[in-house]
């Protein structure tokens, strides 16, 4: 191309130089012609003008004006009378005034007008011819070049293009280098390098996309690519299972068709969120399964232009579980409310019963004892005042009357004590049962110092409870152990703590009379005794009291025994709360 431009420029420049040169040459020619015409005309006109030979003058004029350079000629006599006039061009005319003299006397004049037009036309023709030749040359050059290139380069180019076409098709083989032209080898090797790099990249892209495809098809989650118009574009196989449709029925489907009518508004809103290039997270809606049931789907969707990349999860089971939980919760609340109502009713009943009991025990403490005092008092009065008139048998009867009255008074007192235990307010605090046991043991030993009884008392038996009630509890249990070992010359009484099924259990064990386990169910009932009063004195209220105290603390009590092998009473109580630093 550059070559063509260069050739054109050179020929045009040559043309212009040629033109300028010939122009100048023509101008010089013209000047000399004009001078010649002037002198010629002067010679020719001198005589005719002198002779006033108009005819000759006209002949001379018309003869000279045949010259194509003449554009204008006007010949006048000395009186300015026009003898001959000729005018041809209107364009540029160079005019010269010629004065004709004869022997120094002016005899006429001529005005000559010469034109350059014929020269200029010639010049133009010349230039046009030059340009035409230049174009012809260029065209020729193009033709030649084209022929040369096509005939010489076609084959190697075709080979190259063929190879590149193969590359474009994805066959990245080594290019066949045209053997005739060494100049092609850099191009060929560059293209080879390029194709190798592209092949490499394509391979790694293929691997990546294969990897992604593996993830896509093996993911447990539901994965999908959709568009903001509402169509499924690509889905992973999990969807087939979740919605029951084969993949062919899902891909390209308008997914809004499957959305539950109640969730449509929310889904459209999520779609418009995504269209605005905002991600939609934790969005849930229901999709219709092929069997007509609905599945709860939870979505995490990210938009990229008009595409939506989403991972989703079938949370139907979770929803069902949640629904079940909330249903159970409701039921629970209802039951709880019912229970609360029942508790309130029972509490009211209990309170009423307690009031009655209080009234009863108040009345009992006043009124039940009074007649016994009367019985005892007057029996005693009879014995004192009429003792001498009564036989021994009568006196014995009166004594029995008195004993019975006093016994009954004792029973009434025990009953009242028991009922007081039920009613008494409890002040809960950490209580060291071991300390209480030691105090009771000391008391018992002081009462009967002659007895040989070994006490073994565990330390660190600290419970949360009412100290007064717990003291009564320990007193009763240790008192029983003391009493029921009284027939043995030597005895051992143990207060201890054991771990049973992860629970702290306290126990009082003795090696005394024990009892028959078949009658254990009567053990804790008031006034039920497993031994006769003559063997072991007592009212049968102690263990009932113990059980009441344990129950009021929320614990349990039970016993294990063998006749003459001793008895063990186990009980549980709430543990004292762990001490926190700074608490009192």
């Amino acid at each position: 191309m550059m070559l063509v431009v260069l050739i054109s420029l050179v020929s045009i420049t040559v043309g212009i130089v040629d033109y300028l040169y010939s122009s100048r040459m023509q101008t010089a020619q013209f000047e000399s012609n004009a001078a010649r015409y002037e002198s010629d005309l002067h010679q020719l006109l001198e005589l005719p003008l002198w002779n006033v030979d108009d005819a000759l003058i006209k002949k001379i004029g018309s003869a000279i004006t045949t010259n194509k350079e003449f554009a204008y000629l006007s010949i006048r006599d000395e009186k300015q009378r026009v003898i001959y006039h000729y005018s041809k061009y209107d364009g540029d005319i160079i005019k010269r005034e010629l004065v004709v003299r004869h022997n120094g006397q002016i005899i006429g004049s001529a005005e000559i007008g010469l034109t350059l037009q014929p020269y200029q036309a010639e010049n133009r023709r010349m230039i046009m011819a030059g340009i035409g030749i230049a174009f012809l040359l260029i065209a020729l050059l193009f033709g030649v070049m084209r022929w040369v290139l096509s005939s010489l380069l076609k084959k190697p180019m075709d080979t190259l293009i063929g190879s590149i076409t193969e590359v474009v098709k994805g066959k990245y083989q080594q290019l066949a280098s045209p053997q005739t032209y060494e100049e092609f080898s850099p191009i060929v090797s560059s293209i080879d390098t390029m194709s190798a790099v592209v092949a490499n990249r394509e391979e790694s892209l293929r691997k990546k996309s294969e990897e992604l495809e593996h993830y896509f098809t093996s993911a447990l989650d539901l994965l999908c690519i959709a568009d903001t118009d509402g169509y499924f574009l690509k889905l992973n196989p999990e969807w087939e299972e979740t919605l029951g449709y084969p993949m062919t029925e899902l891909v390209g489907r308008k997914f809004l068709e499957l959305v539950h009518p109640d969730d449509m508004e929310g889904t459209l809103q999520a779609l418009s969120t995504l269209s605005a290039q905002n991600s939609a997270l934790n969005f849930t809606n229901r999709y219709r399964h092929k069997d007509g049931s609905y599945r709860w789907i939870e979505w995490r969707s990210y938009p990229v232009g008009t595409m939506i990349y989403a991972s989703a999860r079938d949370i139907t089971e979770r929803k069902r579980a949640e629904d079940e939980i909330s249903r159970l919760n409701e039921e629970l609340h209802r039951h709880a409310a019912q229970l609360e109502q029942q508790v309130a009713a029972r509490t009211a009943q209990l309170e009423a019963a307690n009031k009655e009991l209080e009234a009863f025990s108040y009345s009992a403490s006043h009124d039940l004892r009074a007649p016994l005092q009367t019985i005892d008092g007057f029996s005693r009065a009879l014995l004192e005042d009429y003792g001498d008139k009564l036989g021994a048998e009568a006196k014995d009867y009166l004594q029995r009357l008195r004993a019975a009255a006093q016994h009954m008074a004792g029973l009434i007192d025990d009953l009242l004590k028991l009922s007081r235990l039920t009613r008494a307010d409890m002040a809960l605090e950490p209580v060291d049962l071991g300390e209480l046991a030691c105090a009771v043991a000391d008391e018992l030993r002081a009462q009967e110092p002659a007895r040989e009884v070994a006490f073994e008392i565990a330390a660190d038996a600290i419970v949360q409870g009412d100290k007064r009630l717990l003291a009564i509890l320990i007193q009763n249990l240790l008192g029983n152990a003391w009493k029921f070992t009284s027939k043995h010359p030597r005895a051992r009484i143990e207060f201890g703590v054991a771990e049973r099924d992860g629970e702290r259990v306290y126990y009082v064990r003795d090696d005394g009379a024990g009892f028959d386990m078949t009658r254990v169910d009567k053990l804790f009932i008031p006034f039920q005794r497993l031994h006769t009063t003559s063997d072991f004195p007592g009212q049968g209220i102690g263990l009932a009291t113990v059980r009441r105290i344990v129950a009021r603390h929320g614990g349990r009590i039970w016993a294990e025994a063998m006749p003459e092998q001793g008895a063990t009473f186990y009980f549980t109580l709430p543990a004292a709360p762990a001490r926190t630093p700074g608490s009192i």
Binding site: S365, R369, A370, Q373, R380, R402
Partner: protein, 141 residues
């Protein structure tokens, strides 16, 4: 032994008899006036012309006006405010004990069922309140 009556406020005639007997056996020689209910006790205490008793033995469970009410009125009145009152009753109910002391009882004795013990108690009461104890200065009537 201090002079003056013992006012026995007791609605149960059996007990009135037995209390008199016990006091007698306990060598308490002061005359015993029995009021059979609370109202009768108050009438006796506030009737003009009656000397104030040296000691009031007060049962709690009484017809008409109960023992605690009698005690309350006695302690509210200028004339009977300082008269020694010993509550003598069958009950040792905690509420009775608390109310009795709160209202200004000087002592609280639970009547034992065993008459020998009762007799001993009566003797001790007499010994303490009518012999050992310095009575309040006699109030103007």
């Amino acid at each position: 032994m201090k002079e003056g009556n013992i006012l026995l406020v007791e609605d149960n005639p059996d007990h009135a008899i037995l209390t008199r007997r016990a006091l007698k056996q306990g060598n308490v020689a002061n005359p015993v006036v029995v009021a059979e209910d609370g109202q009768a006790a108050l009438d006796f205490l506030f009737a003009s012309g009656n000397a104030l008793p040296a000691l009031v033995l007060l049962d709690l469970k009484l017809p008409k006006v109960d023992g605690l009410e009698v005690l309350k009125r006695m302690r509210a009145d200028e004339r009977t405010r300082r008269v020694p009152v010993v509550i003598l009753t069958s009950s040792n109910d905690e509420r009775d004990l608390a109310a009795g002391y709160d209202l200004g009882a000087n002592s609280y004795i639970r009547k034992p069922v065993d008459f020998e013990q009762f007799s001993k108690a009566a003797r001790d009461i007499g010994l303490y309140w009518l012999i050992l104890n310095e009575p309040p200065p006699s109030t103007h009537r």
